[in-house]
């Protein structure tokens, strides 16, 4: 009976080791704190109606950023824990973590950074920016998009659930390679949490990607042909096409692994005809393109930034697009280079080696396109541009080491060493993360209505660069010295320890950089009157997102622009902007169906982790019922009459004009506030709040 009700859950599953207790307590306090604040401010209804059930891609984008930001802190903490262990666990010292716990941490670090940080930010940017860039008011399928987001959130919860129940995450490395991830070698729940967090969020990715492919292909403003699309939209389109191509592979692979573990099938076992090599192939067929799903939109971000801040159109737009297409196409055919060392033979290895080299061709074309864009430009060194300049140096390092790894015989030596780890961190930090930071700095005025503090942004940038060099240059050296990845302990006679310590120091510098990025946002919010963007176009931008107000109204555009050229907004500005003519606007209604489905998906996943069969069955039936009910809901849209739009627009214009006047008054020639000034302001504010009990007035605002 007990087994029927709660499956394999028992009191042993409750957190009992110090790390799990601390982890679950910090999550509980964080949750309670948020709940308390919302309740105190009486914002539950507002939160539900305006945000949680919203189908507005702009709001979903912001929610992605917030979730991704939290997970960045979580994954970053994992990285520091890994590096701390490696810095001290030498000879007689075993460090502060057991081998098993150490392995869980780096596994979680990898999963969180790829799935719940990078994917979140990329999807956030795509959500917010792509509809604006193509001149659309909403999405082709707003419901799929919100469902994708909430499935992602369910995945986020699932990846952290082990703190509360089970106390074990997968200790297998981020791809949980079989047979290590099979029931024989990983008998407890860690791998199941891994399966279900990836499974649920992965299905969300597929659904979200389907929506964006439809949106980009079908909802572009009149006149915007494919060859006139902004490059970030191009990157997003290619990325989403790749996602739809390979994420079903992940889904299938995870199901097979789940069958092995749950029903005792033998797809990936070592006995009874199972074949672990099949798993390695399948998971990398998805895993390699996954990295490019992240980096191709980042290429698009960089293209937008270099063109805007060089005040020039991108050099050879068509080569740039073809370059991205080339990268996307080749990326689907190189997965085997992740396991040349499995022994597939010279011909197979040689083929995939050459395909790997081939990726360097379109990538180099992109780099040349960026270089030529700066040539004879007028370059402004804003923070987005700085992130771009930093990106290329690090990315070149990653590219060079990548080509070395692409040579099968060289890969036999470098594979599974820290050289490899340093290589992909160069690409993922330099390419993806810097692309995200560049994009966030670039589009922040559009999203928030005021631009970010440049000075503190620069400090953050330099911390990242210095921290990166301190962490990852030693990591390359360690790889050359023969250090394998994932070591929780080593001998001092290897001479590795100083380099591990440098990595830890670098990690701390990066952490300071992250803290400065948070400070940057707060400092900008303090000065938002001075930094306000009342024009909607703070950078002299080129694509349509700058034609809308900052932040854009929920319907994005009063008038859908007609596009005749690339860099549509830049050309429109030169020819004089049109006066708005108001029209009825049809918008999608909010829906909570995505939330309900995701709750049941989470429950189903949790039930499968703990073998609670009834709950799994009930949840799956509930998901199906929710989908059916939603399908029969015909009342999914509403129309705002033109008169209403006019009222909204006039009110907004009035507000913007007043704000512009205020800004003109506040604005002084001083530069953005620095760090000391920020600390002073915050200290004075905090004293003031405590002295005058200011919180009593907050809830009435």
């Amino acid at each position: 009976m007990k087994e029927f009700l709660i499956g394999r859950l028992d009191t042993n599953a409750l957190p009992h080791d110090i790390f799990m207790i601390l982890g679950s307590l910090s999550f509980i306090f964080l949750g309670l704190g948020i709940v308390a604040i919302i309740t105190y401010l009486r914002r539950w209804k507002w939160l539900w109606n305006e945000w949680l059930t919203s189908v507005d891609p702009k709001k979903i984008g912001i929610m992605y950023f917030i979730a991704g930001g939290f997970m960045l802190a979580r994954g970053g903490l994992d990285a520091l824990m890994v590096w701390l262990q490696q810095a001290i666990s030498v000879d007689g010292s075993q460090g502060y973590l057991s081998a098993d716990h150490f392995q869980q941490i780096f596994t979680a670090h990898g999963n969180i950074m790829v799935f719940f940080v990078a994917m979140a930010f990329i999807f956030g940017l795509i959500n917010y920016i792509v509809p604006l860039q193509i001149g659309a008011r909403d999405l082709a399928s707003p419901f799929l998009n919100t469902l994708g987001f909430w499935l992602y959130i369910a995945g986020v919860l699932m990846v952290n659930m082990f703190f509360f129940a089970g106390g074990e995450y997968a200790a297998t490395g981020w791809l949980a390679v079989a047979p290590l991830s099979g029931i024989e070698f990983s008998p407890y729940v860690g791998v199941d949490y891994w399966i279900w967090s990836l499974q649920i969020s992965g299905i969300g990715t597929t659904l979200g990607a389907i929506n964006f492919i439809m949106t980009i292909l079908k909802m572009r403003a009149p006149g915007m042909t494919l060859w006139k699309m902004p490059l970030f939209t191009w990157g997003s389109l290619l990325s989403m096409i790749m996602a739809v191509t390979v994420f079903p592979l992940l889904t299938a692979t995870l199901f097979l692994l789940f069958f092995d573990r749950y029903f005792g099938t033998h797809f990936f076992t070592t006995t009874l005809g199972g074949d672990p090599m099949l798993y390695t192939n399948l998971i990398w067929m998805w895993g390699h393109p996954e990295v490019y799903i992240l980096v191709i939109p980042a290429y698009g971000v960089f293209s937008e930034i270099v063109s805007t801040f060089s005040r020039k159109p991108i050099a050879s737009y068509r080569s740039n697009v073809l370059g991205m297409i080339g990268v996307a196409a080749f990326a689907l055919s190189v997965w085997l280079h992740h396991f040349f060392t499995m022994g597939a033979g010279a011909n197979v290895n040689g083929f995939f080696g050459i395909m790997t080299i081939a990726i360097a061709i379109p990538t180099t074309v992109l780099v040349f396109s960026w270089i030529a864009t700066m040539y004879k430009g007028r370059i402004r060194f804003t923070t987005p541009m700085l992130w771009f300049l930093g990106f290329l140096g690090i990315f070149a390092l990653g590219g060079i080491s990548g080509v070395m790894l692409g040579f099968p015989p060289a890969d036999f030596q470098l594979h599974n060493s820290l050289f490899l780890v340093a290589h992909f961190h160069s690409n993922v930090i330099g390419g993806v993360l810097f692309g995200i930071f560049a994009g966030l700095n670039f589009w922040f005025p559009k999203i928030a209505g005021f631009r970010l503090n440049e000075k503190i942004g620069r400090y953050a940038f330099w911390c990242w660069i210095i921290g990166f060099c301190l962490s990852f240059i030693p990591m390359y050296i360690l790889g050359i010295m023969g250090a394998t990845r994932r070591l929780d302990h080593y001998d001092s006679s290897t001479g590795w320890q100083p380099f591990y310590i440098m990595m830890l120091v670098g990690g701390i510098v990066i952490a300071i950089g992250v803290a400065l990025q948070v400070v940057q946002i707060i400092a900008s919010a303090i000065e938002k009157n001075r930094l306000r963007d009342t024009t909607g176009d703070p950078w002299d931008g080129r694509s349509l997102e700058w034609a809308s107000a900052s932040p854009p109204p929920f319907y994005n555009f009063t008038v859908i622009p007609t596009v005749t050229t690339r860099d549509a907004h830049y050309e429109a500005k030169r020819q004089g902007l049109l006066k708005p003519a108001y029209e009825d606007i049809t918008m999608p209604r909010n829906t909570a169906a995505g939330i309900y489905i995701s709750i049941f998906a989470f429950l189903a996943g949790f039930a499968f982790v703990w073998h609670i069969n009834w709950l799994a069955i009930v949840s799956i039936i509930a998901i199906i019922v929710c989908v059916i009910v939603r399908t029969f809901n015909d009342d999914t849209e509403y129309t705002i009459p033109a008169a209403e739009i006019e009222k909204l627009e006039v009110a907004r214009l009035k507000k913007d004009t007043a704000a512009a006047a205020r800004t003109a008054k506040v604005a002084h020639p001083d530069e953005d506030m620095g760090l000391w000034q920020f600390i002073k302001i915050v200290a004075i504010w905090a004293l003031d709040v405590i002295k005058h009990k200011r919180w009593q007035t907050w809830k009435h605002q």
Binding site: A315, I357, I379, P409, Q413, I477, M481
Partner: protein, 320 residues
């Protein structure tokens, strides 16, 4: 929009960057002063070839990366907003050769890289024997990855050892790799050669040749569970005489490896010490391989024969 009042500001970071990188370089050079940098210090033919290939690919990549990076940062500096003297062409018109150039240059480099890669991949395929390097009679050593130790079986010498392997220098050595009751492991002796996976039910062959006597650390490069970091061994390369003496010493050792002892070894252990056995059971390695061939009729065939076929194509049909 942001305006810089002090144009000198923008040129300053380059000196800080140069100074910082120089400092980092000096620090690393200091830390490496007596370190044994395994990949740059090869002690065997294969590792030497692999190092050469790494350096060749690095140089070819630098041919494209150095000018590209230089142009990138040079243009960023030269066409800065505050530099009034630089020309500004907002139209972005390019020469008609531009597109041709940006595609042709990387394609040529890629063809060169591929031209180096393909023959090198064929030549350094780990399955191929090294008769072309040395005509000495090759030594075969069968390796079984276990949790978390390496068992080395010398079928011709009828001995076995754990976490220690002795090999003669200037003699081709063929490691036949498999695993038993262990997740995938990767057999790696960085000074001597690159790694290859050891997997249950598969025989992967790694041919190496050591040319300098010495003790070289080996490990599993692929994560395989809690004892992963301690799954280390020593590969000792010595003269043929050293090898013969060692073989003799082990042959007369008291410990014997039979099925019972083998089953004991199979139990997971961490940081297992080096052990030496006289082999009393023949065909042990083939039995390990057969264990995983399942109930398939096409199972591993005649064990010990025809193993030089590539292991992935060697899989019996019906597995996919």
């Amino acid at each position: 929009m942001k305006k810089h009042k002090n144009p000198a500001r923008e040129s300053r970071p380059i000196w800080y960057i140069a100074l910082g990188l120089l400092g980092l370089g000096l620090l690393i050079a200091y830390l490496l002063r007596d370190a044994d940098v395994a990949l740059l210090n090869p002690k065997g033919y294969i590792a030497q070839q692999q190092l050469n290939l790494m350096l060749v690919s690095l140089v070819i990549m630098l041919v494209i990366a150095v000018p590209a990076l230089f142009l990138f940062y040079f243009f960023a500096w030269k066409y800065r907003e505050t530099n009034e003297k630089a020309t500004y062409d907002p139209t972005g018109r390019q020469s008609k050769y531009f597109v041709f150039g940006i595609w042709a240059f990387p394609i040529i480099i890629a063809i060169v890289l591929a031209g180096v890669m393909w023959p090198a991949t064929q030549k350094l395929e780990p399955t191929d024997n090294l008769a072309y390097v040395s005509d000495a009679e090759p030594v075969t050593i069968q390796v079984v990855a276990m949790r978390w130790k390496w068992l080395f079986i010398y079928p011709e010498q009828n001995i076995a050892s754990v976490n220690f392997v002795q090999i003669p220098t200037n003699t081709p050595v063929k490691f036949e790799l498999t695993a038993d009751e262990s997740p995938m492991s990767s057999f790696w002796i960085p000074h001597l050669s690159g790694q290859l996976y050891a997997m249950t039910g598969h025989a992967n062959h790694l041919n190496i040749l050591a040319d300098t006597p010495g003790d070289y650390p080996g490990s599993s490069a692929e994560i395989n569970g809690a004892g992963f970091a301690g799954m280390k061994f020593i590969a000792r390369a010595g003269s043929q005489a050293d090898f013969d003496r060692w073989v003799h010493d082990v042959q007369v050792a008291t410990a014997e490896l039979d099925s019972t002892q083998y089953q004991k070894l199979l139990k997971p252990t961490e940081n297992h010490p080096a052990e030496f056995y006289a082999l009393t059971e023949s065909g042990l390695y083939d039995k390990v391989l057969m264990k995983y061939s399942g109930s398939h009729e096409h199972s591993a065939g005649e064990p010990g024969e025809n193993k030089d076929a590539h292991s992935m194509s060697e899989k019996p049909k019906g597995h996919e």
